[in-house]
């Protein structure tokens, strides 16, 4: 990933990725989790992302911490998706934000890293009741990616 990103860790199953966001609001632990589901007979993974609440040990997605590192966080998530799909190349990954503005953040992250992502992944967006290949400047509701068959 050419854009600056955080160092991040995963364990052997590559389903959980963790990294620290560092900025004016301090150090915030971020969690990326790929969760398997089956829809209409198709198995895929959902990409979940949120802040770890240190006090409760649970994920909080709606908190806005604003460490002024949005692009770095998005590049880190994109890199984790590339890592994950390199190990599960035949499985789609679905992503949607908890709010429309969060979905738009994902969209911005894809658009900012598109040249690199598109070399390895086919990216689809859901817009006006249908899926289509991702294009910049279209407001999508959700995203699906899958490793390209090279």
């Amino acid at each position: 990933m050419q854009q600056e990103k955080y160092d991040y860790a995963t364990n052997e199953d590559l389903l959980n990725f963790v990294f620290d966001s560092v900025g004016p609001k301090g150090t915030i632990k971020k969690i990326i989790r790929f969760t398997a589901r089956n829809a209409n007979g198709i198995t895929y993974f959902n990409l979940g992302f949120g802040d770890l609440n240190i006090e409760t040990g649970k994920i909080d997605d709606l908190i806005i911490t604003d460490n002024k590192d949005r692009d770095k966080i998005l590049a880190t998530i994109a890199s984790a998706v590339l890592d994950f799909t390199s190990q599960f190349p035949d499985i789609m990954v679905y992503a949607q934000g908890s709010t429309p503005s969060r979905t738009r953040l994902y969209q911005m992250g894809i658009a900012s890293n598109l040249e690199e992502i598109a070399q390895l992944l086919d990216v689809y967006g859901f817009h006006t009741d249908s899926w289509s290949k991702f294009e910049r400047n279209v407001n999508y509701e959700a995203f699906l990616v899958i490793r390209k068959k090279l």
């Binding site: 364990n11 963790v18 829809a39 198995t43 895929y44 499985i91 789609m92 699906l144």
Partner: protein
């Protein structure tokens, strides 16, 4: 749900992540479960890209 496993003859691809046994499993976190279930609802309603279904 189909069995998910890395193919035994699959070439190991280098990844950017650091592999650590200290990374916890968040699979039972209510937030991630909720989001995954919402994704299933969305995809059962709207389906998958036709292009990807043709190749299956």
């Amino acid at each position: 749900m189909q069995q998910l496993s890395k193919k035994k003859n699959q070439k190991k691809v280098a990844i950017n992540a650091i592999i650590s046994s200290d990374v916890k499993d968040y699979g039972n976190d209510p937030y991630f479960i909720k989001k995954a279930n919402e994704s299933k609802d969305f995809l059962e309603k709207h389906g998958f890209p036709e292009e990807l279904m043709k190749n299956r």
